[in-house]
Symmetry: D2
Subunit: 380 residues, 4 copies
């Protein structure tokens, strides 16, 4: 009889909805090595979290996160709060022997990230940072192909994560636009994803030169706005960020994140060029991977438009879903995260990306930040 | 306190997986007017259906479908069996006062479809045929736009539903390739979807001229193959089908369905051209709708690539899911079907596409079949 | 010392501009086996043809085409008039021993086409019908690939030639919309191109069932309009046309031509599906060929987006132009026609597509027309 | 009677072919304000230039460029040599009162460019640097739209010019890979184009931080290779280059040029994002411009795929060619350059991009170079 792992989720808004769905759905589509119980969901506002409990399918709700991290009934703590809470919660959880899945970026800064990784490592629990985009089937396929040498020596990692919601000056000053809660705004929020994909697919960053920027320095306060009034507050983080750099293996990196690209909704555009092939991916076409194979016959080479929806273990993850061509969506990336995480918890084995990955990511974020402040290159 | 509707599902394979998921997920993402209980799942093979019950989240399982249609505990019967069972099951269910959701095509032939619609109509229950593609957000948006006159007078309905799995001569002789179980092969299986979309978006077919064809007349028997042997059986239905026609409103229709288009996985490519605009849709990019607006300024007209992922009621259905650009998949179309169906059951109102739509569809299928046999045009 | 061939061109408007350019440019980019002299251009209106002579680079002009076909100085006659003049001119030219290049469709009807081919054959001259799209590099590459078996057994030829200029009811009644001058309107004008590509790439048509249609039956008279007045005239040919059919080799054909597809400007979209691969081409992206290779590794198959701009004989024709990725346009197809035609004239060898191809094309056009009139299938 | 301008062309290889074609073709498709005579073509190797003269359509050939710049018969000097010759030739030409069209980059360095601009300015001749991509119809349309405010306040200029020919380590050490002849390799060769487009469409660069890089430091010597032997030489310039920066108007710029992007042939990918709209262009689809209009109705916004092939002055330049949808190619950009240049010579008016533009471009190139050497930001 399979073991049952009880999950406590801290946070219940956008990411709470995505993670709850993943916990519910993973056992339906993957043969997990344990049963999963959606035990308790936790949030600061009692009414909100109670409504979420029912809507999202949890047995209990709580308003004090300590109940979750300390409960002897809970095996797994899943943290989806604003970034400023991650360190305290995760450290408390691992000290209590819980396996921890934590949203990205791992922490507000390198110091917190170091403490989190150290605590998790010491506690010998399974720890994972939720860079869900690693488990897009197309990205996992790219990883396999690169591992097999399909690209040869890699020359370029060129990436742009573009959205458009901050183009509107009326978009309110939410927690992602404030230093205390978000760390470094769009840089930590979405550049962290691209950095993770660069590290996963290509290699470690060695030196960087960045430019962090804030296009619109004041925005309406979200909470005041909610009450029908309107007052402006200061945006204390970058709302756009870019950097160039070198990786340890000599690859040139060009990375940009912005929420000022009208028409780009979740455009994570990644191109990797090597001596034998190139790949291109855009999240807005997440079921596709473009691949140029330099070994194809000379007169019929071209970027292949691979529809990554094949069945039966042909391509990573996606065979658990629907027939070829039928397509999956954003939420499935979280389900793949949960499936791998649960199995790792049962087996007591690490599962990438670990808190150490989260820490390394944080170091790149910090180096770019320092570079932008000082106007010069920074080595990692 | 909200009412609860109890569901019985007959069938548990591919469509059973998709429908079960829809019943589980609809209440999580839509504010349904009733609670939904996944009461009983039914299938002929006890072991299979018991495993499916656990995997797919049903309370009970059964091997005799009469238990479902006759049970006083069941409110809704959802039929996802091979086509040859639809009529008997659906008629029994409606006679017992059940609301019925039935997979497409509605029946093996027009006669069965007429009996089904008559019985459902008489029973005053809610009846719906699961042409799930109507509820792709992009298609629902196309419907809205056409309704608003964005295309003007329509000239062309040009559609091709292309897959590639029958290209392999070793693909076995399953129930879809036999007349007794499928009715008319690829014609009833996937042309029926395109006919439904044509009727939904453009108008009623008036006359048709078709060509049904079988490229590979013999295939290995699936059940024998399963036992490790190999024996060939006759394909008794078309494996490719096309027709041209006129609609009542003068629109020219060109419709094709095939499973011999290598590289096309679930390519439902539809183009509609009108005097004021055109639209193009391809299911393999199901989160997108292409729209050419003849009223845009002359020097900057072009097909708009609308990413149909906007939030908050901007576009149909999709705002219930994730932020813009984050995308949904195949399974979501069934969730949208279930959400609308449940609300219709509560309100006692019809919900399109009804059994009458299924019947009209069947008449088009039959007219094309007759046309192909007789080598001439057939009027509807 | 290379021979010089003197050319006489009859017609000077749209096609006159395209053909003149081809005669001027071919010697600059291809090593022709003869020099080419743009000797005389001919047209009915003296002022118009004189202006064209200077603008388009001809030595002399004439208003009577007999001067061209009878002149001992002329080696090649190039006919780009409205269709109703083709037969008389071409027959006179070949009887005078001229090599003839004639615009498509070859003739108004089968009878004329037969006479043209018979006369040209008897005269032992080089004769070619200008289906310029055969010499798009992407199409020529497709031909090579099909010849090499890259698609295997072919199942489908699916094509749509769509433009949008007739969507506007004010578009005037030009010669293409009148039976006497055009033969069969959009059917002979642009369906003939698709039929030619089908015959070139796939095979001979065996039986067809078609629907010819006229959406807008009356239009302003062009010549009256030119004088500032407005009078309506009857459209006496189809302005949209489609047919389904079988080829001799069992391939299913689906062909459509229309000028009512708003947003489609010169959308010649062709898909060919076979047992080993598929290709897709759209003239609006004429420098590209899409190719799906069923022999690629299972996890990384996808339509290749081949940019057909490689140098040095890698791909047909295009290496004579610019470096990879730099692209050519519409006019280049005519230059390729002229280059091959000139070399054939020097060598005295046939060059495809010959008048016989034009005749076979005409028979398909006629069969579709008869099928549409009689409402039944017609065998070729 | 129209004036005649006599042209002398210095250089006869790749660019000589493209410019000769432009001189021949411009009068055929544009109503120029003067006649154009292809008077003399000049090159160092007598046999080569004589062959080019005949093939490319010039009246005379010469081996000493002084004959061209000093000839009283010549009105226009067109310079298409390697970069190291530009300054001396252009200065001599303008001093002799010739109008000068000069290939890009204008010079080897800022000092040369300053002298060239000063001399041309003093001579009061018409001077133009051949950044031909400004006259792609899609780019000219983008310019018009930006000028009309269609993008609003601009936030981002994001560009990548990617080719793949240096991926092959056997690609020889040509003049573009040597400092003395090319200035700064791929940076001056193709980044200069992107810088020009940035300046043309968006604004002046204010500060930059760059990284110039050489992936393959040694390559076979081209001239030795031509003799059948093989000896390696040192690549003395960057073969890849990227920089980030700010423009004077606050726009963030991200620019990259490489010849190590396998599968990218002439991929000049440019995205500009503003508060009201975005545009995207890729030279490999040069007949298209993507435009996202933030003012379209909320439920049907999307990047428009504008086929920039409209007739009759609807869109810039392209109406002089073929009907909508018929497409032009690379060479046409040079024809547009020549057409505008000739008219400017007749009118005695400046024509963009002038030598001053070439000089400003050179300053950006130099600032990036300095930034890369010093590892810090450089202000312009």
């Amino acid at each position: 009889m399979a073991k049952t792992l009880r999950v406590g989720l801290i946070g219940y808004r956008f990411m709470g909805k995505a993670h709850s769905n993943a916990w519910r759905q993973a056992p339906r589509f993957f043969n997990l090595k344990a049963n999963v119980e959606l035990h308790t969901i936790c949030g600061r506002h009692a009414a909100g979290v109670q409504a979420a409990r029912a809507q999202l399918g949890w047995q209990k709700s709580a308003t004090d996160w300590h109940e979750i991290v300390e409960s002897p009934l809970i095996d797994i703590v899943d943290i989806v709060t604003p970034t400023n809470f991650h360190a305290e919660m995760a450290i408390a959880a691992v000290k209590n022997g819980k396996h921890v899945l934590c949203e990205k970026p791992l922490a507000l800064n390198v110091k917190q990230a170091e403490a989190m990784f150290a605590a998790a490592h010491k506690a010998k629990v399974v720890h994972m940072v939720c860079h869900n985009y690693r488990r897009i089937p197309a990205i996992a396929l790219a990883k396999r192909m690169i591992g097999e040498g399909a690209l040869g020596r890699i020359f370029h990692f060129h990436a742009r994560y573009a959205q458009d919601r901050l183009t509107d000056p009326e978009y309110p000053l939410d927690w992602r636009l404030q230093k205390e809660t978000s760390g470094c705004g769009v840089h930590s929020d979405i550049n962290s994803h691209v950095i993770d994909l660069g590290r996963y697919l290509v290699g470690e960053f060695e030196q960087v030169c960045g430019l962090l920027n804030t296009f619109i320095p004041e925005r309406p306060l979200a909470d005041v706005l909610a009450k029908g009034a309107r007052r402006m507050g200061k945006v204390t983080v970058p709302d756009s960020a870019m950097f160039i750099g070198r990786m340890e293996n000599g690859v040139l990196a060009n990375v940009e994140a912005t929420r000022y690209a009208l028409g780009r909704k979740n455009h994570i555009a990644i191109e990797i060029n090597g001596s034998k092939g190139s790949i291109y991916f855009d999240f807005e076409d997440m079921n596709r991977l473009k691949f140029y194979n330099g070994d194809d016959p000379k007169d019929r080479r071209g970027f292949r438009d691979i529809l990554v929806t094949e069945r039966d273990g042909v391509q990573p993850y996606v065979g658990h879903w629907w027939p070829p061509g039928h397509g999956i969506g954003y939420e499935h990336t979280f389900i793949h995260v949960v499936a791998d995480f649960v199995n790792a918890c049962v087996e007591g084995k690490p599962v990438q990306p670990t808190f150490e990955d989260g820490l390394k990511n944080q170091r790149v974020l910090a180096a770019v930040e320092e570079s932008s402040q000082k106007g010069r290159w920074v080595k990692l």
